[in-house]
């Protein structure tokens, strides 16, 4: 797993979320288990529901990762709204 690519994908999505006052943090990317864990941070957000819906968020993060990382991975999104 290209962990630098994962970090870039998280940065890309983070930049989008910061427009709404949220952010995305990379918790871990383990090549051995193919697990990528990220956490949505809503600290600076007035309206949590105004941030991208959970299903769309997960899909967009996955797409951002897939552009940079070959092979399968399991994406776990820690979303406080879930």
């Amino acid at each position: 797993m290209n962990t630098e690519g994962v970090a870039e994908a998280v940065d890309e999505m983070g930049a989008i979320l910061r427009l709404d006052g949220a952010d995305l943090r990379l918790v871990g990317a383990d090549p051995a288990t193919a697990r990528i864990e990220v956490a949505l941070e809503l600290g600076g957000v007035d309206c949590a529901d105004c941030v991208m819906p959970p299903e769309l968020l997960e899909q967009m993060i996955a797409d951002a990762v897939r552009k940079r990382v070959r092979g399968e991975f399991e994406l776990v999104v820690r979303d406080p709204r879930a």
Binding site: D30, A32, T33, A34, G71, E72, F73, E74
Partner: protein, 352 residues
């Protein structure tokens, strides 16, 4: 250095097609182009093992050809094995030659059975031993495609196993080209197969399993672990399984390859692998009435029917062997049904 090599030699045109034609004409090959077993390639493989070139690994059935490390290296060179992977080939043959594996029976039976190699240990990824998506075919890692093939070529060229001649196999199976895949240990919630076979974690181990083929299982309807495992148990206890042919059900294992998503689900219900095996065993049976009368008579004569009219696939839970591998698409498991009269064997990979 070439004076340590004692195997016979032949000249062939320096053209891959010429070598291929020769391999077909001499029946050394498996029908697929082979690499030239030059001294350079053979010596490179020999340098990767602590065993001497003339060390006898064993006599391979059915013709009891003597397998020296050199001869194994020649076949491994033909298969395209890289030096770092050669010790895996030797470990596989060591395991195959354990009497309880019953290579004598396996190499001659009418059954499709063939040794499948299941690999554990830290070398898997570096050697291209597939353990994720497509691990049983399609991922095309070098280790997976060549280690198994080398073992197959050894059985053919050294052991003399040939379908229709010394091997009475009716159908054969795709694994007879060679099948080698890894367990995705890092995604397993339980101890790895190698650990359960008695090896410390982090050891490179090859396990050989005499399996009749890959038996696919799928479900898209139910996420409940107990329901899924119940269905797996009933599926693997199919009435024409070899494992219902034996006298007692004491011999042979059925390996069940579980995908990582299901493994997490099953482990939530069965944190200990023995509990999962016990649950599977509890349900891996069929009622005697499933079989026609003639078959029922034989099953009763073999004392395979209990007082409740149940015919258990195997005598003990530990004969149902779960491993975790495959991709992250969920939905599927694969059973590797045993020949029956063969016991799974493991050997540690030895390096210089």
């Amino acid at each position: 250095m070439t004076d340590v090599l004692t195997s016979g030699q032949v000249e062939v045109g320096d053209d891959p097609a010429a070598l291929y034609e020769l391999s077909l004409a001499e029946e050394w090959g498996d029908g697929v182009p082979v690499l030239a077993a030059t001294d350079e390639r053979v010596l490179a493989l020999l340098a990767a093992t602590p065993a001497a070139a003339d060390y006898v690994v064993g006599a391979l059935p059915p013709q009891y050809g003597v397998a020296t490390v050199e001869l194994v290296a020649v076949n491994a060179a033909m298969a395209g094995v890289e030096p770092a992977a050669f010790p895996h080939v030797l470990a596989a043959l060591e395991a195959i030659l354990v009497p309880e594996f019953n290579a004598f029976g396996l190499t001659t039976t009418t059954s499709s059975v063939f040794p499948m190699l299941i690999v554990n240990g830290p070398s898997r990824a570096a050697l291209g031993i597939d353990h994720r998506a497509g691990c049983m075919g399609g991922a095309a890692g070098r280790g997976s495609m060549t280690i198994g093939r080398a073992v197959s070529l050894c059985l053919r060229n050294i052991g003399g196993q040939r379908a229709g001649e010394t091997s009475r196999t009716v159908f054969g199976q795709p694994a007879r080209f060679g099948m080698c895949f890894g367990e995705w240990e890092e995604r397993s919630p339980w101890p790895s197969l190698a650990q359960r076979q008695g090896f410390p974690a982090g050891t490179d181990v090859v396990t050989v399993h005499g399996s009749k083929g890959t038996f696919p299982l799928a479900d898209i309807n139910n996420d409940d672990p107990r329901d899924l495992l119940y269905l797996i148990a009933k599926s693997v206890a199919f009435p024409l399984s070899n494992m219902f042919l034996g006298g007692s059900g004491e011999n042979g294992e059925l390996v069940i390859a579980i995908n990582p998503i299901w493994a997490d689900r099953f482990a939530a219900a069965f944190p200990e692998v023995e509990e999962l095996q016990a649950f599977l065993w509890e349900h891996a049976w069929q009622p005697i009435d499933l079989w026609p009368a003639e078959n029922q008579e034989i099953l009763r004569a073999k004392r395979r029917v209990d007082d409740d009219g149940k015919v258990a696939l195997v005598a003990r839970p530990d004969q149902l062997v779960p491993i975790v591998c495959g991709g992250l698409g969920s939905l599927h498991a694969v059973a590797l049904p045993s020949f029956g009269e063969s016991q799974l064997q493991s050997a540690e990979v030895q390096r210089p």
